[in-house]
Structure formats: C-alpha cells, structure tokens
Amino acid sequence: MSLRVEHLSKEYAQGEAKVAVLRDLSFSVAKGEIVAVVGESGSGKSTLLSLLAGLDSANEGQIIVGDTDLLQLNEKQVTAFRASNIGIVFQQYHLVDHLTSLENVMLPLEITKQSNIRSRAVAVLEELGLSHRLTHFPTQLSGGECQRVAIARAIVSEPKLLLADEPSGNLDTQTGEKVMSVLFDVVRKHQITTVLVTHSESLARKCQRELFLDQGQLREISRRER
C-alpha cells in the first residue's frame, strides 16, 4: 500500500498567534519502500508522524494511504483504519507495563477481534528472536528487547504502513543497529511501507530515501548530497 501526501499544512494556536508547523508538504512513498524523515528537534517530524497516523487533524491537504484519504475520515473510521492498516513504533517503546511481552503483542489483535491471536503473536515474537521472553514483563526486559516487543506489536496485525519514531533513539549504538536490522528485515519481508523518523544519519542512509524536514518544509536529500 502506497502513501501519498499532498499539500499538507498544519498550524497550532499559541495564544492569539498561529504557528505553522508544516507548510504545504507533498511527498509519496511507494509500497514496501522505507523512507527516512530527518530534521532538527522542533522541525515538525513528530507532528508529521501524528498526522500520518491519523492521530491529529491537518489544516489543509491530503494523506492518502492506499486509496483512502485519512483526513476525510471521521474519528471512528480513522480509528478502525489505523487499527487494521497502520503500525507505530515509538522511541520510548510505550509498552503496557502490566502486560507480558506476549500480551503486549496480542493486544492489537484483541482490539480488532482477530482470530488465532496467541499463535500469531507467538510467531511474530519468535521471528524477532524473543521466543524466550514471552512471559516477561517490560520491566524485566532490556531496552533492545523492549523495542523488539514494540516492533512485534506494531507488525502483528500485518499493517500496510509502519511509522517509526526514533526507534533506536533510546538504545546504545550496537543494540540500536541490531534492532534496526531486525526491523528492516521484517518490513522488507512483509513488504510494509515504512516512514522512519530519525536523527541518526547512519540509520537514515540505510533507508531507500531520505526526506529532510526544515521549518515545516520538506525536501528530498539525494544520495549525492551526502
């Protein structure tokens, strides 16, 4: 499933004044492509991700995932669409502390009332090398393991679009590289369209394309610019 963003703008009100966070953004990501979004802190990367996830509303523009314009859906529709089509990985993992690894991964399948919940969750965790950590709680896992559980949770419902927000930002270099390698393997294997926000140049270089977000505007970084 491809992603197409057309003339996307987002403003926030700050008292009387309005601050433009994203200005007339347009870009597209082909099915199965992995695109990195880079930029300085406060450049609007997280805002872009929250719009792509359907968690926020834009002032103008279109976000077309497959054939669906997210911004035309109501809250109920966008919630259902996200549950079936979009997976999200966060920098802080955001696992539910009182659930085991397995339960955390089963959660999206339970919410969307799918079948074979347990076996599918176990299979994904095994694929990510966590078969020995099924019954562990997040507090009993290392940072890398937590992030792998978070990736497993994001892909278990077989999303068409994966949004990753600084997925290795909380990890040391070595662990980060390992986790990202797992992530790339999985998204490639399942042909998941991926948008990855990162500060890491090395990680961005591993993606097929890089988009640079600066003061609310986006431009593509060609490999030659490096």
């Binding site: 802190s41 406060g42 990367k45 997280s46 805002t47 991700l49 929250s50 996830a53 968690l55 926020d56 809250e75 109920k76 919630t79 259902a80 996200r82 549950a83 079936s84 999200i88 966060f90 920098q91 802080q92 955001h94 696992l95 539910v96 502390d97 009182h98 659930l99 959660l107 999206p108 339970e110 919410i111 969307t112 009332k113 949770r153 927000d165 600084e166 930002g169 926000v197």
Partner: protein
C-alpha cells in the same frame, strides 16, 4: 467486552491504587450501612408490631371527651363483630413516700390491650382477654422505673388525684411503647371507672380520649378510617390505623435516624473526595496506556468507557469490605442506641440495603470520577511521539462536569432526610463548608508559599513551598481532614455551649412548670405559693382552638393514605390535624421579641369591626405559611373568631418560660373557657421538692414538670444521640486518613526522582524526613485547625441565629482532636513515605520512570 476485560485487567494490575480506592470508599459506606441497618430494624419492628403499638386495628381519638353521638356514630360505622376499648391518656402527678412525680396515666377498661401485651416484673404476661386484678378495686400498675425512682414496692399505696391506689404490678415491657423519652413521664395504668372519683379530668384539662377498635378478620381498616373521617364532623378527631399510628409514634426515632443518615453522607462525601483524588492518580498513571490503546485502534469513547467501567467496578467492589466493616461496627452502634428504644434493636444488613449500597457505591464512584474520565478524551495519543511530552496528571477545568455528582449528593440527602428543605440546606451547607475550606486552604498555601526565613533550614523552606505549589493534592487534604475535624468538633461545641448556657441561665430558669390550672384554682394557688417567697407568679391563660381558614381558604384536615411522606408533608398534615393553643397578653415576655410588624394596639374592643390582632412565632409562621396581614379564622370551642397577623415574634424557647405559637390581642378571648400555665421561679432543691409535694396534695389535677430534672434527662438523651453521631464523624476522620495516606504515598511516588536526587546531592536521611514530614504535618495541622475554626463559626451561627443562645468557647475537645488526628497523621505519613525514603538513589535515577 474488550473494554470490560481491559478495565478489570487494569485494576488488578494496579493493586495499590485499587485497594486504596476500595478501602476509602468502603469506609465511606460503613456509616451508611450501619444507619440503614438501624433504620431497617426500627421499620421491621414497627411493621411487625404495628397492632401491638396501637394496641388495636383502629384508633379514634380526640383531645376532649367524645360526645354520646360521636360514640354512637363510630359504633354505627364499625362492622359487626368489632370490639371497642376506651382509654384516657393524660399527664398527672403521683404522690408516694413524701415524693411526687410526673407520670402519664392510662385509664383503661378490662379489654385493654386489644393487641399486644404487658410483661410484668412478676413474669406475668397480660393480654386483652386475660383477667386482670386492676379492675374492681383501687389498684395501679406502674412502669418498673418508678420502683427504683420512688422506692415503691408491690402493695405500696400511692396517691393519684383523690385516689389512694395500691401497686399490684410493675410493668417491665409495654408493647405499645416505641420511644424511651429518657423516663420523662413513666406510665401508670388505672381502671377507667375510677377517673371520675380521681377528680383529675376537669374542664379544659389536657387529655386524650381514645376509642380503640379490634376489627373482625378481613375488615379494611384504611377504608373504615376514610369513612370515619368523612362522618365525624370535628376535624380535631384523629383516626389512625395501626400502620399510620406506628409511623407517627416512631417519629422522633425516624427524625434522629434521618439526621444520622445525613452525617453518614458526610463520611461518604469525604470518601468521594479521596476516591476522586485516587482516581485522578490512577488515570494519570494510565495515560500512557490509554494513548497506546488509542494508537492500536481503541476509540476515544472506548477509553472513556474503560475509565468509567473501572470506577463502577471499584465502587461496587468497595461494598464487600464495607459490609465486613459494618458488621463489626453495628454492635457498637446498636449498643449506643439500644437505650433510646424500649425494644431491643438487633440491626442486620438487609438485602435491600446491600442492593442500595451497590447502586450508591457504583453510581457515586462513577459520578465523582466522571470529570477525570471524560478528560481522557482530550489527551492526544500523539503525546507518545518523541518530541512531545506526556502530561503527568489529568486535571479538569470544566467545573460543570461536577454537577452530576452534586445532584447525586443532593438527591441522596433529600431521600435520606425525607425532606426537600433539610436535604437542600444540608447540601448547600456542605458546599459552603467546602468552599470555606477551599478559600482558607488557598490562603494557607499562599502563606506557605510566601514564607521566607533566613534562619530556617532548606528542607523546611522547600517543603512548605512544595505543598503550596501542589494545589490539588493540598486542597484534597485540607478539605477532607478539615471537614472531618469540623464534624468531630461541632457537636461537642454545641453541647458545651448548651450546658454552659443552662448553667449560667440557671438563676433565670423556672424551677417548676405547672399546667392544667383551673380558673377557680388561681387565687388559692397564689395563696399557697405566697409563703414560699417566690415573688409575683404570672399565670398565662391557655385557650384551646383550631384554625378554620387562612385568608378565606379552609384549613382542612389532611387525610393521607400515602405511606411515604416528606418531613414537610408530615409536619403540614400534623399541624392541620391538631388544634392550636392560644393565649393573650398585653406585653411581651423577656424571652420574646418582635422581628417583623408592630406591637398590639392595646386591648381589643369586642364591638369594634376591626379584626383581632394576632402575633405569631416566626418559625411557626414559616411552617404554616403565615405572613403579616394574613387573615386567620379560629373556632374557639364552638365560637368563631377572626383575626389578622400584625407581627412575627422570635421566642427564646430555651428560656423555658411559658410561650405560645399564637398570641391574641388582650380583650379578644378573655372570656373563653381556659386553663392556666405558670412557671415557678428558681428555688433551692429542698424547697422545690417541698413545694411540689404541697401542690400535689392540694391540687391533684395540676401537673408539674420539674425542669432541672427534665433538662438533665434531655441532655442525657442528647448525649446518647451525640455519641452515635460522633461515631459517624470518626468514620469521616478515618476516610480523611486514607486520603492523607493516599496523598502522601502518591506525592512521594511522583517525587521519587526529586527525593533521590536530594540524596545524591548530599541530603541526610533525617533532613529528608523533615522535608517530607514537615510538608504533610503542616498540612494536617492546618486542615485540622481550619476544621476547628469552621466548627466554631458554624456552632456560633447555629447557637446565635437558630437557638438564640450565647456561644461558649471550649478548648478541651479541639485539643484532643488536634492531638489525636496529628498522632494518627504522623503514623500515616511515616507509613506512606518509608519505602521511598530507604531506596538506593542511583537505581532510581538510572531507571526509566
């Protein structure tokens, strides 16, 4: 289904907060369950013993002698096979062994009681059909307390009016008695045929004549009641079925239990404040989880559903520990209240009470947490992205979301007090307290925040600053502990002030109160009193009448068939069905003052077309709906009289001077048939007893109330009520302590980083202990002192403006409550903080919080 499973899972996996929420709400419910059990046991007793309480199926009564035609009318209306017993009830004096005593005489015939029985000290049980030694010879049955109070024995001869009667039985248990009014006037039973010879009932005497009826099986007593009401022309005639009579006879008990319910609502209210604070914390901890759920496909409404389900579940679960605690409390409660009723109470928690508690706990908890639960909707899951920051707490600014909880407590107060007015005033006063404590709490926080001292240590300064900056948690403690300490202090303040007022006013209080003085006894009585040097004794005329119409609208008898009436409806029905005692005087007594209108314009001229001027006691006027200028038509023993209200009077009833609800202009009813009442001024105890003896001997029909004894008895009874109310207040304090513990634990948990950082920066454990203890102790002391201050203000306002009495300062109880609450508070703070205080700093600082 997912929402329910997730809600349960969330609660189970957060056992600490869930347990505190449940414990907190359970404490709030305990008082409610105890009061419900008490109310139920009274209602059950009344329902099961309704006929025994009335001693009949139906009673027709009037405060005079029935005429022959009325008797005949009653008998005609009754179905064949009905049995009738005639009874006269009145207060009188007995004289024995050189002592006299006010008693309630029941002059009965041999068929009494038509239902129920009398249990004697001799173990004999006497019912209606049994042969009785009371009849045929001058004998008397007396309540057993007279045996001890006056030293009587079986076979003793005592004097009642003109009769010399021999005590043949002492009564241990009387099925018709529902309220033990501190033994104000123990009952005696005599043969009705002796009444004439006794000379006790004369023209204008205060007595009730009743025709008690046993109906044949299946006869509809309620229908007969309606028929009798329509056939008997005099509205002063009261007709009661066993059901209406038992309701009426237990009025004082119900009034008391209604007020007890209101105090139990305060405990529930305090628990609710604690619960909402805990739920706010619970949701704050769950914000990340909720945001994750939203990202995974759960809608915003579903997250609200989850939060609301959790409040419902927590509320409902809290009923279980509440039931266990209530079972432990009920025996204590019952032992405090058992002396009030002549029948023993064994309160048990009924299925209905449990069901009500479940509804109350679930709905109450849901409504009190609603503002926070709804706020969850506003949190965007986008907070989870790295550039945003997850809010640390859930707060709401839309105060209209509190309205459902307000209406819930309002409705509950109205239902529990069975009064729109009392319930509304109660909720408004409670709201007023909360607002007052909020304002005072904010002022305290302001002071704490501004406090600068160059000599004070850093830990003390920062500690107070911290408390001042955490407004919501500080206010939760101030309101809960403040209200609890106010509750603990307000009743003792009132009691001490009343006691001191009686003590200081002792010299002005009458010694004896005389009533039923006949016109022809006036002069002789004054002569009898003259050697006792008691100065001028004023006798106040008392004329029986009834109100016919107000402003031309007939003031008719209300026949109620509804079993559920509000207190106002009951009061209204009672005042309409009863006659009113009038008096006249040309000047106001020292215990009354005009609050609106003008004084009487001299004596009334019977030939003048002007209406008679009327003065009405201000609260009676409110109850009946009278105002200045209203026209009132009276029937004064067959003679009509019209008058106009010209003033409203405030009466200081605690002065125990003879006062009346309605006073008429002098000259208007001076010639009407009347009796007199008089108050004998203060005198030495020995001389008082001697005078009382002399009066009883010389005027056996005059009833005498010994005021010192009566006030002592009433205060004793009030003390029993007070202790049971205090028990409810203690539950409030316990709720307050749970809130304090929750606040301490929460704040310490939220500030783990800060505390451990201070350890890393070199703070010693003792300094940190002061840092934590000072903040919460200052809060606890501040809250308790504010509560005491508010209790002073409220008790002052009540005494000054409601009872019209002076307020007296009492320091003992406030001191005890400060020491008690602070003692428990220190333990609670230590328990709540000790775990974090002992943590190793680096492990926390390194970990992800």
């Amino acid at each position: 289904m997912f929402a329910l499973r997730w809600a349960i899972k969330g609660l189970v996996r957060t056992p600490g907060i869930s347990a505190f929420f449940i414990a907190n709400f359970a404490l709030g419910l305990v008082g409610f369950l105890c009061v419900e059990a008490y109310k139920d046991s009274i209602s059950e007793h009344l329902t099961a013993n309704a006929k025994q309480i009335l001693a009949a199926d139906l009673s027709v009564s009037v405060r005079r002698e029935f005429s022959d035609s009325e008797r005949a009318l009653v008998r005609e209306t009754l179905p064949p096979g009905s049995e009738v017993s005639e009874v006269y009830d009145f207060f009188s004096m007995i004289f024995f062994n050189d002592q006299s005593r006010l008693i309630l005489v029941k002059a009965v015939d041999s068929s009494y009681p038509l239902y129920g029985q009398l249990e004697m000290s001799s173990k004999k049980v006497v019912a209606g059909g049994d042969s009785k030694d009371l009849f045929g010879s001058p004998k008397i049955w007396a309540y057993a307390e007279l045996q001890e109070q006056m030293g009587m024995q079986i076979g003793s001869t005592l004097k009642l009016g003109n009769l010399d009667l021999t005590v043949s039985e002492f009564i241990e248990k009387d099925a018709s008695q529902t309220f033990r009014a501190a033994n104000l006037a123990p009952r005696v039973f005599i043969d009705r045929s002796l009444l004439k010879a006794s000379g006790l009932i004369q023209v204008g005497s205060t007595f009730t004549h009743s025709l008690l009826v046993r109906l044949p099986a299946g006869a509809p007593s309620a229908d007969l009641r309606s028929q009798l009401f329509s056939k008997l022309p005099d509205p002063a005639i009261q007709v009661d079925t066993s059901e209406t009579a038992s309701e009426d006879s237990a009025r004082q008990l119900k009034l008391f239990s209604d007020y007890l319910s209101l105090v139990s609502i305060v405990a529930l209210f305090l628990a609710s404040i604690g619960a909402s604070y805990l739920f706010r914390l619970f949701l704050s901890k769950k914000l990340k989880e909720m945001a994750v759920l939203r990202c995974l496909g759960v809608s915003a409404n579903e997250t609200i559903q989850i939060a609301l389900l959790q409040t419902l579940i927590l509320g409902a679960v809290s009923v279980f520990p509440a039931l266990i605690l209530a079972r432990a409390f009920i025996p204590v409660f019952a032992s405090l209240l058992n002396n009030i009723t002549p029948f023993s109470i064994n309160p048990g928690i009924s299925g209905a009470s449990i069901a009500i508690s479940f509804a109350l706990a679930s709905i109450g908890s849901l409504l009190i947490c609603l503002p926070f639960a709804i706020k969850v909707r506003d949190f965007s899951p986008a907070f989870l992205f790295s550039e945003f920051r997850l809010p640390s707490t859930v707060d709401f600014t839309n105060w209209s979301l509190m309205l459902p909880a307000f209406f819930f407590f309002w409705g509950l107060a109205i239902v529990q007090s069975r009064s729109m007015n009392v319930g509304t005033v109660f909720v408004l006063v409670l709201l007023g307290f909360v607002m007052m404590l909020t304002v005072l709490g904010l002022a305290l926080m302001n002071l704490m925040g501004r406090w600068k001292s160059s000599t004070a240590k850093w830990n003390l300064r920062y500690s107070l600053k911290g408390a001042a900056r955490r407004k919501s948690s500080t206010l939760s403690v101030v309101i809960t502990l403040g209200l609890a300490s106010m509750l603990l202090n307000i009743l003792p303040q009132l009691k001490v002030s009343l006691q001191k007022e009686f003590a200081t006013d002792q010299a002005n209080l009458p010694s004896l109160f005389l009533f039923d003085i006949q016109e022809e006894q006036k002069d002789a009585l004054l002569k009898t009193l003259k050697p006792h040097e008691i100065g001028d004794l004023t006798m106040y005329p008392l004329v029986r009448s009834r109100v016919l119409a107000i402003n031309g609208q007939p003031y008719e008898r209300v026949v109620t068939r509804d079993t559920v009436l509000t207190r106002e409806e009951e009061q209204e029905a009672r005042s309409r069905n009863r006659g009113v005692n009038l008096s006249y005087r040309d000047h106001l007594s020292s215990s009354e003052s005009i609050v609106e209108g003008r004084d009487f314009s001299g004596a009334h001229d019977l030939n003048s077309p002007k209406p008679v001027e009327i003065s009405v006691e201000v609260r009676y006027a409110e109850r009946v709906g009278l105002k200045i200028g209203d026209k009132v038509d009276f029937d004064i023993q067959g003679v009509p009289l019209s008058g106009q209200v010209i003033n409203l009077r405030q009466v200081k009833w605690a002065s125990f001077q003879p006062n009346f609800f309605i006073l008429l202009q002098p000259g208007s009813i001076d010639d009407a048939p009347k009796t007199y009442i008089a108050a004998v001024p203060q005198m030495l105890h020995g001389r008082k007893l001697f005078l009382q003896k002399e009066l009883v001997k010389a005027y056996p029909n005059i009833s005498i109330i010994d005021l010192a004894r009566t006030t002592e008895d009433v205060l004793k009874l009030a003390d029993r009520f007070r202790w049971s109310l205090e028990l409810m207040a203690v539950l409030g304090v316990l709720s307050g302590m749970v809130v304090l513990y929750s606040v301490v634990r929460t704040q310490i948990w939220l500030r783990r980083r800060e505390l451990n950082l201070l350890k890393v920066l070199g703070a010693k454990l003792e300094e940190l202990t002061v840092y934590v203890m000072a903040e919460f102790l200052v809060l606890a002391v501040g809250s308790v002192l504010l509560g005491i201050l508010v209790s002073f203000l409220i008790s002052f306002a009540l005494l000054r403006f409601v009872f019209n009495l002076a307020w007296h300062f009492d320091w003992i109880w406030p001191l005890f409550s400060v020491i008690g609450i602070l003692g428990i508070g220190c333990v609670v703070i230590w328990l709540g903080s000790r775990k974090v205080m002992r943590e190793r700093p680096m492990s926390i600082l390194r970990s992800e919080l």
